[in-house]
């Protein structure tokens, strides 16, 4: 399979806004001059189900889907969903994950239990795990809705892309009146690692 292509798998829960984050990510990669493809599922899964989004880039990208076991970064918005997709990561890849638990239906109704200590389990297998306190930093940025931008800031540490391109991508994707708090959130996230 084509080796010079890189991939990030975003995982989260429907309603968390992973879609917008993957938009910013694709935008920044396009601005950096890469061929970019992304793929995700809308529809049924948006009612609080698991969501994933594949983003791939390189000189020339064919498949929009990341083959299992080859993702360079697993970028998680929720712990269980990140852990669920661990087999997508390649050896030596990084995990950037929001330190947040959202109970799925079967856990909320008490028929199943939320797995213990997911950060510990991730760290037991993967060397590079960046755990981000997204909620806390979003509050610092002035709006809890900027969590995803905090996470993008943290992710940016694991990618070689100039900071100003990230700012440009945010400008392109975020409505004007929320831009300042999002830029602040991004900076806070970027400092997290």
């Amino acid at each position: 399979m084509a080796n010079n292509v890189k991939g990030i798998l975003l995982t989260g829960v429907g309603g968390q806004g992973t879609l917008l984050a993957s938009e910013v990510l694709s935008e920044v990669l396009m601005l950096a001059g890469f061929d970019v493809k992304k793929s995700e599922i809308h529809g049924m899964s948006q009612r609080g189900g698991s969501v994933t989004s594949h983003v791939r880039w390189g000189e020339k990208v064919f498949s929009p889907l990341i083959p299992e076991g080859t993702a360079d970064i697993l970028f998680g918005f929720e712990l269980l969903e990140t852990y669920r997709s661990l087999s997508m990561l390649r050896k030596g890849g990084a995990v950037v994950v929001n330190d947040l638990k959202i109970a799925p239906g079967p856990v909320a109704t008490g028929t199943e239990t939320y797995p213990e200590d997911i950060p510990g389990k991730l760290k037991a297998q993967v060397d590079d795990v960046l755990l981000v306190d997204g909620m806390e930093k979003a509050h610092q940025a002035g709006n809890y809705r900027t969590v995803n931008t905090v996470l993008l800031g943290a992710l940016s540490n694991r990618m070689e892309i100039a900071e100003e391109l990230w700012h440009k991508a945010l400008e392109a994707q975020v409505p004007e009146k929320f831009l300042q708090e999002n830029l602040k959130a991004f900076a806070l996230g970027r400092k997290a690692a």
Binding site: M30, K37, G49, F62, P64, E68, Y114
Partner: protein, 590 residues
């Protein structure tokens, strides 16, 4: 040319704009919905939601008769509904170019089946193009209009979930100019499909396919990419992208038109390679045609017919070895099924139906989620509009004591899609079944679109809203109750009364969708659980509300207690009504 990144659906909308489309009509359906939602940004296009796919296609056909380029879009199962006009349109052909976009859903991410729409192209004898990325989605849309007018035929453009909802880079082009202005033009021998006229048209249809097949051999949308090895791959659509990953050195015949197939091109290609693979999603559509030409291929003997392809699924199917990954999760993880939103009116209705022991012939919409545990309150779901007619049918054969339990359920959008006909039959043939319309003033499941009962058009303009009570009355329903499904007592009383009647009856459960963006959805103060009152009986967990969580070991006796997530709670109070211990309070109250 300006470069941007677009989804397949956005690119099809762009292609329609570039092709000079004037009229676009659709009924929502994942993964096709965003095509029309994006077309609204192009001022010159009259875009609208139709009540169903058949109507959408017929609107597009009318526009074509007027001499304008037109488009209808739908999901794969929508094409079943629109099949009737499509087959006759194949005989009629077009005046202004007409393209029908059909989006398939291999893997059934959001669908009830994974039918392969390519079969419709062959069945209806119309050409079908299949793009493999967003830029092709834009370009092929343009080309489809040229083909449509050059060969006097409707053209199918097939997408799949991975194309429609995938994004890739697109080179924008300028819109075409110089298209003729629409006008009235009578042409009865072409437009009036009486048997005598249709007999004249049918041979033209057959000739058209032969002509197209030859013509397609010289078109750039069908191309050979010569590789280094003697392995050959024939593929199309998104499967092309996967084939390029799995066979980087092979020669590839990439088909942009999947019907009719360029036979001579295929023969020449097959001769140039030693071993030939056909990589396609779902049915062996290309494969069967190629085999029928007497060419040996490797295809669905190894590759799966069910589900979508991925590069690793292709690799492991061909090698016989499962994918091995470096990291694995060994423990069993709790699933995360989708759930009805907090505050959704469907919850109270289905909770009550379950209490009453109703046999629910359901339908397709957000409310189909009520079939999942712990609500588990739907007993069948076939296709849009079937909820009421299935109820009529089953009630015909049941003994009297069971007959009264039958309740057909569907949403407002589904009712207006094809449910009206089903209710008409229920009334006409005097069924004892009760019909429930879940009126949330939205086509919710597909992302909250408007429909003829919401009072708004696709572009957000005002429209007369269908009066559902009057409509039911006009159909002859004598017993109609309108209730708020969040009021459980009222809901129960109304359902009991209507179910007991030996005559057709309708319950309209009215509560605006929580995703409503115009601020009409009611949100009140969140509730909380009074720790001294909650005995841990778990009754409130049975309503399947995302805002209620179970805390293991909480409470005085350590039996566990419910807690409310105040960020999610909308204050609908359905939980308060199912609690026998007055354990829910309002945050601002006490």
């Amino acid at each position: 040319m300006e470069k941007t990144i677009l989804s397949g659906n956005e690119a099809i909308a762009r292609g329609a704009y570039e092709a000079g489309v004037r009229v676009a009509s659709a009924y929502p359906g994942t993964p096709s919905t965003e095509i029309l939602e994006n077309i609204t940004q192009y001022k010159g296009i009259d875009s609208s939601w139709a009540p169903n796919e058949k109507v959408a296609l017929e609107v597009a056909i009318g526009a074509s008769f007027g001499g304008a380029r037109s488009m209808a879009t739908m999901k794969h199962v929508g094409l079943n509904v629109a099949a009737d006009p499509l087959f006759t349109l194949s005989y009629i052909g077009v005046r202004g170019g007409l393209v029908l976009v059909v989006a398939d859903d291999p893997e059934m991410h959001s669908s009830q089946d994974e039918q392969d729409s390519r079969n419709y192209a062959k069945f209806a004898k119309v050409p079908m193009l299949e793009p493999s990325d967003s830029d092709e989605a834009r370009l092929f849309t343009r080309i489809a209009y040229e083909i449509s007018e050059q060969f006097d035929t409707p053209v199918l453009l097939r997408s799949t979930t991975r194309l429609s909802h995938g994004k890739s880079i697109v080179n924008l082009d300028d819109p075409v100019t110089g298209l003729p202005e629409p006008s009235l033009k009578r042409d009865p021998s072409k437009l009036v499909m009486l048997p005598a006229n249709a007999r004249q048209r049918h041979p033209l249809v057959e000739k058209r396919i032969v002509d197209l097949e030859k013509w397609a051999c010289d078109q750039t949308f069908n191309r050979v990419e010569t590789g280094e090895s003697k392995v050959g791959v024939i593929t199309s659509g998104i499967a092309y992208q996967y084939a390029k990953e799995v066979f980087p050195d092979a020669s590839v015949l990439k088909l942009g038109m999947v019907y009719p197939l360029p036979k001579q091109m295929i023969r020449d290609f097959a001769e140039s390679v030693d071993k030939l693979y056909i990589i396609e999603e779902l049915d062996p559509f290309i494969e069967e045609a190629v085999r029928a030409m007497g060419i040996e291929v490797i295809g669905k003997d190894l590759l799966p017919v069910c589900g979508e392809l991925t590069p690793e699924r292709i690799e492991s199917a061909l090698s016989g070895k499962p994918v091995d990954t470096d990291y694995k999760v060994k423990e069993e993880l709790p699933g995360r099924p989708p759930m009805l939103c907090p505050g959704c009116g469907h919850r109270g209705l289905f909770h009550t139906l379950k209490q009453l022991g109703a046999f629910v012939t359901g339908d397709i919409g957000c409310y189909t989620l009520a079939a999942l545990p712990p609500l588990g309150a739907m007993d069948s779901c076939v296709c849009m509009g079937a909820g009421f007619s299935n109820a009529t049918g089953i009630a015909k054969v049941l003994p009297e004591n069971e007959r009264q339990k039958v309740v057909g359920v569907m949403g407002d959008s589904t009712f207006l899609h094809t449910g009206v006909n089903s209710l008409m039959d229920l009334v006409y043939n005097n069924s004892t079944a009760t019909a429930v319309i879940l009126d949330n003033s939205a086509t919710g499941m597909t992302g909250r679109q408007d429909n003829p009962a919401t009072g708004y058009t696709l572009k957000g303009g005002d429209a007369p809203a269908v009066d559902l009570e009057n409509l039911c009355q006009a159909l002859g329903v004598k017993h109609i109750r309108v209730i708020d499904p969040n009021d459980l007592d009222l809901t129960k009383k109304a359902l009991q009364e209507m179910m007991a009647l030996a005559e057709p009856s309708v319950v309209i459960a009215r509560r605006v969708c929580m995703l409503e963006r115009r601020g009409n959805a009611e949100r009140t103060t969140p509730l909380f659980v009074l720790e001294d009152k909650c005995v841990g009986c778990r009754s409130c967990l049975k309503i399947s509300c995302p805002a209620i969580e179970w805390r293991e070991g909480a409470g005085e006796k350590g039996k566990g207690q419910a807690v409310v997530n105040a960020l999610l709670c909308t204050g609908c109070k359905v939980c308060e009504q199912v609690c026998n211990f007055d354990a829910f309070g309002e945050i601002d109250g006490e």
